[in-house]
Structures are given as structure tokens and as C-alpha cells.
């Protein structure tokens, strides 16, 4: 395991013919300021080859974390290493300069050099190579990222998605030991996004480097992640596989971030070990929900989170459904946001937010005062730690 790989000084020579997994280990503490005041970024994480998503609201410290890894801002203390080589160590007073770290970094605003063509941008990091080799490598990369036809153009003359590709190609062509991506897909539409992600995955199959991918978009977490790290106010609040972390969020930060619109305090009423479920009563209401069984005792308190998009509405009392929870209620408000309609339904002091399509609203003639039934599947109820 302790295989020491000698790195040449030149920035971009392709040293690895074999694929070698490098590991990125980061333990940093840094005071940082955001619009809501100052936070302490206090993070310890280990990223293996592949995608690690850093997920969090804006101001959670995601970019500060990347800057520390890239060497663009010094942590207050800690240790950062990649592939066994120490980049920063506050105890040993070690701090490798950013330009010697060989860490690829794609900034949120891409930072393409406006006075250079796409090809010159991509070739920029290949300083150590001869001019002909530089050009050959840059062209190869442009082709791999399907932007070969743009090589003469300046950044101002190409589209946003193409710019994103140039920025990625520019970072990847230098064969970095780790790749930091700061919300690189935010500006892209969905098809462009998935195509780019596929290209990135393909690249990493050969290179096997850790890719830290920062986002505040829950959808991207599912689309990309081998591993997700949830950051809130500078701390890691959850970590694991996207489906474990996001689908069954155990903390409320994650719940809010991943869009659990309905959260309730609840008390365990009964355990049904045989069925793998339990009955919970929502606090201060008469509403009882059948939820998945967790390790809990009758009478214990917990929180239940339900996505608004997971709920069904019926205008008649439905029969023959597999869903265990059918709650009668009255519509209080109907709001429209973009193409999503939110109906707020009062089911005996518990208010549920239900997401519907415009067509569903019109077909069912949903309006305030109408009596409806809210249908909640057992497995749509996520139990959050208290």
C-alpha cells in the first residue's frame, strides 16, 4: 500500500501508464466568513477514486473547503494529503504552493482566460511539454470532450455548455492527482449535463482520481455520487451513499436540503414487528401514520419527514390501495410555483404539502375548502433522528 510514486517536477507529464488509485485525505479547520456571519469550517474526510459529492446550502463552506485543498487559501490548521504526499500540514509547517500541487480545480465561474482561444486555454497547463506535444495533447483532449471544432474560438464566442467543456478539458489535460469541481453543472440544461457527466466518468475510468464535486442541487447528488458528504455551517452532518443519505435522511439539515417538505414531531404508538412497520401519532394531532419499523420503543419521540412529491390526493375515499395511510382532510390553500402546484391539506391539525401537476389540479378541480384524502405510503415516511 505504501507505494511511493516519484512525481516529476514538470506539471503535466503523463507519468501514469497504469491506473493508480490515489486517495485524498483532508482534515482542516478554518474560520471563514459568509453573509450570515463567521463559521468554523471543521472537516475531516477521505475521498477515494471516483465521485464524492460535497452537498450543502450556499455558505456552508463548500468552496472554502475546495480552496484549502487547492492551496488557494491556507487553513488555520490541519493536514491535507493526496496519494500519500502531504500538501499541507500545520504541525510540520508544510504548505505546498498551489501551483505545485497538481490538483485540478474547475471554478464556479470557470475562469477561462479571455485572451486565449479554446485550444490555448486547454494547452495552458501543459507548460512543461514542447510546443508540438502541447498542441497534440490539447487537441486530443478537445476531441475527447467533443469541442474540437471550437479550438480557434475565444471563450466569449462559445456557448455556456461549451465553455464548461473547455474548463473541464483544461483541468483534466494536466492529469491532476485530484479534481475539484465547484458547481460546474449549475448553468447547464439536463441533457447537456448528463452528457458531460458521462464524459467525465469515462475519463476517470482510466485515471482513477478522487473527484470532489460541490453542489447544492439534490438531483445531481443522485445522478453522480458514489459517496456524498453533507456540509452544514462548516461541519459534516451526514456522509454515505447517496441513497442512504438522501432517501432516508437522518438529520433535518439533510431533510431540508434534499426537499422533505413535510416534517412532523411524532410519538411511537405501536410496533408491528411482524409487518416491519410501526404506528406513529403526529404530535398534537389525532393523525396516525404507519411508518417503517426502526429501533424505537413505544412512547419514544421522533420526527417523520415526507416528500410533497410522494403524496397522492384523492377526491373520493380510495379503496383497494396498497398504501397503508389514507387520511381525510380539507384543502386550505393551493399555490402554483412554475409548473408545480402545491396543495396544503389540513388532516386533523396536521398540514400536509402535496405536489401536483397543473393537469391534476384542473381535472380534480382542487380549490380551498374541498374535501380530499391524502394517501401516504409507508415507505414514503422517513424517520429522522431527534
Amino acid at each position: 500500500m505504501a507505494l511511493k510514486i516519484p512525481f516529476p517536477i514538470q506539471a503535466a507529464k503523463p507519468v501514469f501508464t497504469e491506473s493508480i488509485s490515489s486517495e485524498l485525505e483532508v482534515r482542516v479547520r478554518k474560520r471563514f466568513a459568509n453573509p450570515e456571519g463567521s463559521f468554523i469550517l471543521n472537516v475531516h474526510l477521505r475521498a477515494l477514486a471516483g465521485f464524492t459529492i460535497i452537498f450543502g446550502a450556499s455558505g456552508a463552506g463548500k468552496t472554502t473547503l475546495l480552496d484549502c485543498i487547492a492551496g488557494l487559501t491556507p487553513p488555520d490548521e490541519g493536514r491535507i494529503s493526496v496519494g500519500g504526499e502531504t500538501l499541507y500540514d500545520s504541525e510540520k509547517q508544510q504548505n505546498v504552493a498551489a501551483w505545485k500541487r497538481r490538483i485540478g480545480y474547475v471554478h464556479q465561474d470557470l475562469a477561462l482566460f479571455p485572451h486565449l482561444s479554446a485550444e490555448e486555454n486547454v494547452a495552458y497547463g501543459l507548460r512543461a511539454l514542447s510546443a508540438t506535444e502541447r498542441q497534440a495533447r490539447a487537441r486530443e483532449m478537445l476531441t475527447a470532450f467533443r469541442i474540437d471544432h471550437l479550438r480557434e474560438r475565444r471563450p466569449a464566442q462559445i456557448s455556456g455548455g461549451e465553455r464548461q467543456r473547455v474548463a473541464l478539458a483544461r483541468a483534466l489535460v494536466t492529469e491532476p492527482r485530484a479534481l475539484l469541481l465547484d458547481e460546474p453543472l449549475t448553468a447547464l440544461d439536463r441533457p447537456t449535463k448528463s452528457l458531460l457527466v458521462a464524459d467525465l466518468r469515462q475519463w476517470n475510468q482510466h485515471h482513477r482520481v478522487p473527484i470532489l464535486f460541490v453542489t447544492h442541487n439534490g438531483e445531481e447528488v443522485f445522478a453522480l455520487g458514489d459517496e456524498v458528504v453533507v456540509l452544514d455551517a462548516g461541519r459534516i452532518v451526514a456522509q454515505g451513499r447517496p441513497h442512504e443519505v438522501m432517501r432516508a435522511p437522518r438529520s433535518e439539515t439533510v431533510a431540508n436540503l434534499s426537499g422533505l417538505e413535510n416534517t412532523f414531531d411524532a410519538t411511537v404508538q405501536a410496533l408491528h414487528e411482524a409487518r416491519g412497520t410501526m404506528t406513529c401519532r403526529l404530535a398534537k394531532t389525532t393523525v396516525e401514520l404507519e411508518t417503517p419499523l426502526v429501533r424505537a420503543e413505544v412512547g419514544s419521540h421522533l420526527r417523520v419527514g415526507i416528500r410533497a412529491g410522494d403524496l397522492l390526493l384523492a377526491t373520493e375515499n380510495p379503496r383497494g390501495l396498497s398504501a397503508r395511510n389514507i387520511l381525510p382532510g380539507t384543502i386550505r390553500r393551493v399555490e402554483q410555483r412554475d409548473v408545480i402546484v402545491s396543495a396544503f391539506v389540513d388532516c386533523g391539525q396536521a398540514e400536509f404539502e402535496v405536489h401536483l401537476t397543473l393537469a391534476a389540479r384542473d381535472d380534480l378541480q382542487l380549490r380551498p375548502g374541498k374535501n380530499v384524502w391524502v394517501v401516504v405510503k409507508t415507505h414514503s415516511c422517513h424517520l429522522l433522528g431527534v
Binding site: 488557494l72 501551483w99 497538481r102
Partner: protein, 229 residues
């Protein structure tokens, strides 16, 4: 029309503004990126020639170049004559006199380069110096041209410093503005008028070229002169 004085002045201005590009870039670079807490003192010192009467500046330069100062003595031991009242002395005086006209546009355009580009360059393996050469300088083209042209035009028209440091030696230190002064003193108004008009036209042309070039510049903040004019 004194062509000798005219060409002497053009030569002086060309040498001075060229040297100022070489001297001004490192100074402007330091002023832009240094985080030294006393930097403002240096900024004030560089800007001094803008507000100081040229005679004051000229006086100190004359004293510094004279045979009583260490610099003057060193130069004398090297060349056998003092710097005062020579063309070289005039260059030194003019360098100081026009320094802010080069440094301030340079610094303003360096400062206008988006810092994320510098960060990106570092992550792509370029040292600060390489980054400066490949990113900052090319993106500051407009500021460099502006600084060069302004210091050129400013040196063309200097009077006080030249008079103090260079005196009025035909072919050596008699510049065009001193020539105009002489002709007016001698009540030779038509000759003075011709020379003055020539200086006016040349200065206007130089500035027109600067503004014209900047119009086509791709920089976001092309016209980067300091807050002082």
C-alpha cells in the same frame, strides 16, 4: 521653428517612456499585489510628482545629481563629469517626473484582471511570475499602452524639471518647452506660436491614438487611468 529642440524632446520622451515601461511594471505589480500595511506610503510617494511643483522636484534631483551627493560623485568617478546639465541627467529627472503617469495606469489595469483567473492559473501549475507574464500582462495591454503614451506626452511638455536639472544648453538639454519660453522672452511670437502649435498637435495625436486603441480593446475596463485626471 527650432527642429533641434523638437527632436531632442522627442528623443527624450521616447527614451523616458520606454524606460518607464521597464521600471513601472515591477512597481505597479508590487503596488497591485502587495499586502504590506505601509503600502499607502509608497503609493503616495509615487504619486508625488503629480502635485509637486516641477521646480521642487527639479531642485532635489539637481542636488542629488550634483557633485556633493554620493550619486553624483559616483557618476563623476565613473564618467569624469557630473550628471547635472547633461542629457542623462535630464532623463533621470524626467523618469521621476513622469513616473506616476506610467505606474498608475499600469497598476489600475493589473488590478482590473479578475483574480479568479490568477487562481485558475496557479491550479494549472503556473508560478506567480509565469501567471503575471501570461495572464496579467496580456490582459493589461490597454493600460500598458495608456501608461506609455501618457508618460510620453507628459515628458514632451515638461518645463520646470528640465530647467532646473538640465539648464538650457542647445542640442543637449534645450527642450521644446524651454525653446518656446526663450522665444517669448525674445518677443519672437510667431516662432513661439509655431512651436507651441506643433507641441499641441503632437500631444493631441498621441492621446487620440491612445483613446482610439482603447476603443477596440477587449478589456472590460480599458481606460484605466488613475483617479487623478
Amino acid at each position: 521653428m527650432n527642429w533641434e529642440a523638437f527632436w531632442l524632446t522627442v528623443r527624450l520622451a521616447a527614451i523616458v517612456s520606454t524606460l518607464l515601461v521597464a521600471i513601472g511594471i515591477p512597481i505597479a505589480c508590487w503596488l497591485t499585489y502587495s499586502r504590506w500595511r505601509w503600502k499607502f506610503l509608497v503609493e503616495a510617494a509615487v504619486a508625488l510628482p503629480i502635485v509637486l511643483p516641477p521646480t521642487v522636484l527639479g531642485f532635489y534631483v539637481l542636488v542629488a545629481l550634483g557633485s556633493r551627493s554620493p550619486i553624483g560623485r559616483w557618476w563623476e568617478s565613473l564618467t569624469g563629469h557630473t550628471l547635472a546639465f547633461t542629457f542623462e541627467g535630464l532623463i533621470i529627472g524626467s523618469l521621476l517626473y513622469s513616473l506616476p503617469f506610467a505606474v498608475q495606469p499600469f497598476a489600475a489595469s493589473f488590478g482590473a484582471v479578475d483574480p479568479t483567473l490568477l487562481r485558475a492559473s496557479a491550479s494549472l501549475g503556473h508560478s506567480p511570475l509565469q501567471t503575471f507574464r501570461r495572464i496579467v500582462l496580456p490582459l493589461s495591454k490597454a493600460g500598458l499602452v495608456t501608461g506609455f503614451a501618457l508618460s510620453f506626452a507628459h515628458t514632451l511638455g515638461e518645463f520646470g524639471v528640465v530647467l532646473m536639472v538640465g539648464g538650457n544648453i542647445p542640442g543637449v538639454t534645450r527642450t521644446i518647452s524651454i525653446d518656446i519660453y526663450d522665444q517669448v522672452e525674445a518677443a519672437n511670437y510667431s516662432s513661439a506660436n509655431q512651436t507651441a502649435l506643433l507641441l499641441l498637435v503632437v500631444s493631441f495625436l498621441v492621446l487620440s491614438i491612445v483613446f482610439g486603441l482603447n476603443r477596440y480593446s477587449t478589456n472590460r475596463r480599458p481606460w484605466a487611468v488613475g483617479p487623478w485626471r
